[in-house]
Subunit: 275 residues, 4 copies
Amino acid sequence: MGGRPTWLYQLSKAGKLCVPAMNVNDSVTKQKFDNLYCCRESILDGLKRTTDVMFGGKQVVVCGYGEVGKGCCAALKALGAIVYITEIDPICALQACMDGFRVVKLNEVIRQVDVVITCTGNKNVVTREHLDRMKNSCIVCNMGHSNTEIDVTSLRTPELTWERVRSQVDHVIWPDGKRVVLLAEGRLLNLSCSTVPTFVLSITATTQALALIELYNAPEGRYKQDVYLLPKKMDEYVASLHLPSFDAHLTELTDDQAKYLGLNKNGPFKPNYYR
Amino acid sequence: MGGRPTWLYQLSKAGKLCVPAMNVNDSVTKQKFDNLYCCRESILDGLKRTTDVMFGGKQVVVCGYGEVGKGCCAALKALGAIVYITEIDPICALQACMDGFRVVKLNEVIRQVDVVITCTGNKNVVTREHLDRMKNSCIVCNMGHSNTEIDVTSLRTPELTWERVRSQVDHVIWPDGKRVVLLAEGRLLNLSCSTVPTFVLSITATTQALALIELYNAPEGRYKQDVYLLPKKMDEYVASLHLPSFDAHLTELTDDQAKYLGLNKNGPFKPNYYR
Amino acid sequence: MGGRPTWLYQLSKAGKLCVPAMNVNDSVTKQKFDNLYCCRESILDGLKRTTDVMFGGKQVVVCGYGEVGKGCCAALKALGAIVYITEIDPICALQACMDGFRVVKLNEVIRQVDVVITCTGNKNVVTREHLDRMKNSCIVCNMGHSNTEIDVTSLRTPELTWERVRSQVDHVIWPDGKRVVLLAEGRLLNLSCSTVPTFVLSITATTQALALIELYNAPEGRYKQDVYLLPKKMDEYVASLHLPSFDAHLTELTDDQAKYLGLNKNGPFKPNYYR
Amino acid sequence: MGGRPTWLYQLSKAGKLCVPAMNVNDSVTKQKFDNLYCCRESILDGLKRTTDVMFGGKQVVVCGYGEVGKGCCAALKALGAIVYITEIDPICALQACMDGFRVVKLNEVIRQVDVVITCTGNKNVVTREHLDRMKNSCIVCNMGHSNTEIDVTSLRTPELTWERVRSQVDHVIWPDGKRVVLLAEGRLLNLSCSTVPTFVLSITATTQALALIELYNAPEGRYKQDVYLLPKKMDEYVASLHLPSFDAHLTELTDDQAKYLGLNKNGPFKPNYYR
C-alpha cells in the first residue's frame, strides 16, 4: 500500500524525476487510515492467523514509533501485552514515553520478549546477533516496508534448519533446538498474513485517484517535475466521502464563524502543514 | 500557552508583519505536549477540582477533535465517560469515528449530556439556545482558546441568576430552577482551574527560547518578514533534552542505515512537513 | 469449554445429582481466563477470520455484560468500535455504565448497529423481529453458549434465501435484497471460527484435572451429592503454575504480615467467596 | 469507607461476635463502586491535588492488585504511566499479567520508580529499607487501608528532616539531600486528599442502610452471631436504584426466558457466590 516517498524525493533531489508526482503516502487520510488505523487491526489479525498467539501478558518489542508503530502498540497494549519501543527519532521517542511505553535499545530486551515487530522503513533493524539472542519460540515479523527490516538472509546458513509449519510461518531452528518463529519470511505481515479492510482500501484508492485526476487536469505549469503533497482540500474531500458510512454528522460553520477563523465555509479547514 | 498562529498568518498575509516570526505553536513538541498530552491530564484535573464530578458513566460532548480535543476525549473515555464529538473538518471527524466516538451536531445530544467541553478555537460554539436546552446541573467549560467559545455574554441577562458556588464555579439559574454549572466564566479551564505540569512548561519554554535564539542568530536574509515553522532539527533537539527524565534510550543509526535512508545520523529524521 | 453449571445446580436441587460435582466453570481462573481474557481476543479473531470487518467506527451491540461480554466489549472498544450493552441484571448494567457503555434495550439500537453479539447464556435474545429490522450487511454472532441465543430457526423460512459465502459464514437474504451475515449458524463463534490459545486451555484443563483429583482423593464424607466450588487454594495453585511463563515474581508474606492478616503464608489468600 | 471484614471474621472465628453482622464491604456494588470505580478516579485526583505530577511517562509501582489496585492501575495506565505490580496472591498476579502489567518484587523496581502506591490491606509493605533506596522526589502514598501499609514510623528518626510543603504533603529529606514526597503521612490518600463522588457515597450508604434494615426486620433465627454477605437480591436492588441517573434501560426477561434460566423475572439474577 503506498510507495516509499523517500525514493520520490531522492529522484527529485537528483534531478531524475521526469514528471510531477504526488506524495499520496503522506496525505493525512493515507497516513492515518492506511497506516495507523489499518495497522492497529492488522497486527492483531496477522499474528492470530499465523500463530494463534495469546496477546495478554506477552512481552513485545516494536521497532519504530511512527504511524504504523503507534497503531501496532495501541492495539497490543489494549489487549494486555507489555510493549517496549525502539526509536531513532527523539520526537517519536518522547511520544512513546508519554503514551506509556518504555523506550529501550533492542539489545536491552531482546532476551526476554515474546514477539519482535519492525515498523521502521529501515534495513537490518533486527540482525543475526539479535536473532541469536532471542528466546525459544520468539515470534519475529515485519510491519514496516519491503523485506529488509529483518536480516533474513543471515538466517539462510547451514547451521540453522528451516521448517515450514504452515503457510507464511517458518520455524528457524538453532543447533541447540531453539526455534524462532519467522512470519512471511520477513515480508510485510499486514499484506501477507492479514486482510486489508475494504474501507481502508477505498480511502487509499480514492486518494490516489484524486491525485491522478488533479495532475491530469491541472493547468500547465501548476506542477513541475517535483514531488507535491496532496492539496489539503482534496484530503478533506476524500474524508467527507467516507463519513456517511459511520452516520457521522458534520457541523457547518456559520458565516460569522468562518469570518472569525478566516476560513471558507467549505474548507480547507486546516493549513497545508497540518497533520 | 502559545499564541494563536492564525493571527500571525493573517498579519503576514496582510503584509503587516514587521519582523520574522516562528510559529512555535505548530511545532510537533508544542502540539503534542502542550496540547494533546497536557490537556489529557488537565481536563480531568480541572473538572475534579471545580466540580468533584465522577467521570464514569457520564455523557460528555466535546466540540472539536484537534489535538486538544483528542487529549480530552482519550482521558474521558479511559475513565468511563461516553463521549460525543462535534467537528467541522471531515478529516478530524473521520479520525473521531475511527477512535470510537459518535460524531454529531451539538443539537442532537445537548439535552442528554452531563458535560459540554469546547476545544475549537472558534467563537459562539455553545450558544444561548444550546444553554437553554441543557439539562439541570450540566457542566459547561472551555479548553480551546480565549473566552469566546461559549457565548457567556448571552447568559448575563436579567431572567437568569448567577450564583458563585466556589472560586471559578458559577451556577447560572434559569427561572424554572434549572442550573447550568459554568466553569471559569468560559475562560480556559486548563489555565484557570488546573495546573500545568512543569515538564510541559519546560518543553514549551525550551522551544520558545530556541526559536528566539534561532531568529536572533540567523544570518541576515535567512528569515524574511514571514511566519516560519520551527526547523525540524530544533524540534528534535528539544525532545532529546527531555528524554533522560524518562530514562529513555535512543537507538543510533549505523552508517549503513543512515545511507540507506538518506539521513544524517544526527537528524533531522523526519521531513519538515511531518507531524 | 466448561459446562453450564446451571444444569448441575438444577439437578442438585431436584435431588437427581448422583455424585459430588465441582463447579469448575465458576472458579476464578476459569471465569477470568477462559471467559474474560480468552473472549477478549477471540471475538476479534473470530470476526476477522470470517468477515474481515474493520472494527474502527463500527457500532456494535453486545447482549449480556458478564465475563464474556466484558471481554468482548473491552476489546471492541479498544479498537475503536462504539459499543452498546443490553442487560437484565442491574448490577452488570451499572458496571457497563461505569465502564463507559450505553445500556439500552435491543430495539433501541437494532436499526443502526453494524454487529450484534450475544453473550447471555439465555435463549431467543435475538428474535426474528430483531433480525427483520437489522440494516443491510449487519453481522450477527453468538459468544454465549449453545446455539439458542439467536433464533436461527426463525430464519429457515421460504421467503428468506440462505447463501453460504464461506465456511461458517451465511448470508441470509430478505426479499428486498437485504443481507444479514450470520456466523457459525448461531453456534459459538469462539469455538467455531477462532482458535483458543493453548495457554488458556492449559489453565482450564489444569483446573478440571485438579478438581477430579480432589473428588477422587477426598476422604469419604467430605463431598456429598451436591455441587461444590473449587477450593480457593486449588484455584491459587493453578494460577501459580502459570506465572512463570510471564516471568512474574510473587511477593511472599513475612511472618509478621501473615499474622497481621490472619493468613497462612502459603495461602489461601482470599476467602472462598472472593471473585 | 467500609470497615475491614477481616476483623469481623476473626471475631466470629474467636466466638466473640455478639450480634449478627453483614459484610457490606464484600457486596458486589460496594466492591466495584466504592473500591474499583471510585479509586480509578481518586488516585488521579489525589495525586494531582497534592503534587501536580504529570502522569504521562511516569514509572509507578502499585502494591496489591485487588479491586483498589485494579482501579488505580487502569487509570494510571490509561494516562500514560508505566505500571508495575507486586502481589502475594497468584490469582491476582495472573490477572495483572493478563491486563498488561509486569509483576515484580518491590526491590526490583524501587530504585527506578517515580511513584509508589500501596493497596494491600497489609502492614509494612513499604519499609524503611525501600524508602532508603527510592530516588529523589519519589512520591509515596497509600490507597489501601488504615495507616500501616507504609512504615511511616521508621521515618521519624533524627537523621531525616521533615518539611511540610503544603497540606497533606511532607518532604522527608535524607542527609544527602534526597527527598521523598510522602502524602497524608501514609493515611488513605483517597479520603485525605481527594473527594469521593456523591454517586459512590449514595451506593455505599444505600447498601449499608439496606443491610441494617434487613438485620432489624429479619425473623428471629434467620441470622445468628455470624458474618453474612448481603443477599444478592438486595445488592441488585441497590444497583437498580442508581441506573436512572445514567439513563440506562434494563431488559426484562420473557416468561419463557425466565423459565429456561430457572430465574425469577425480578431476580436475583446471579447466584450468591457471583462477583
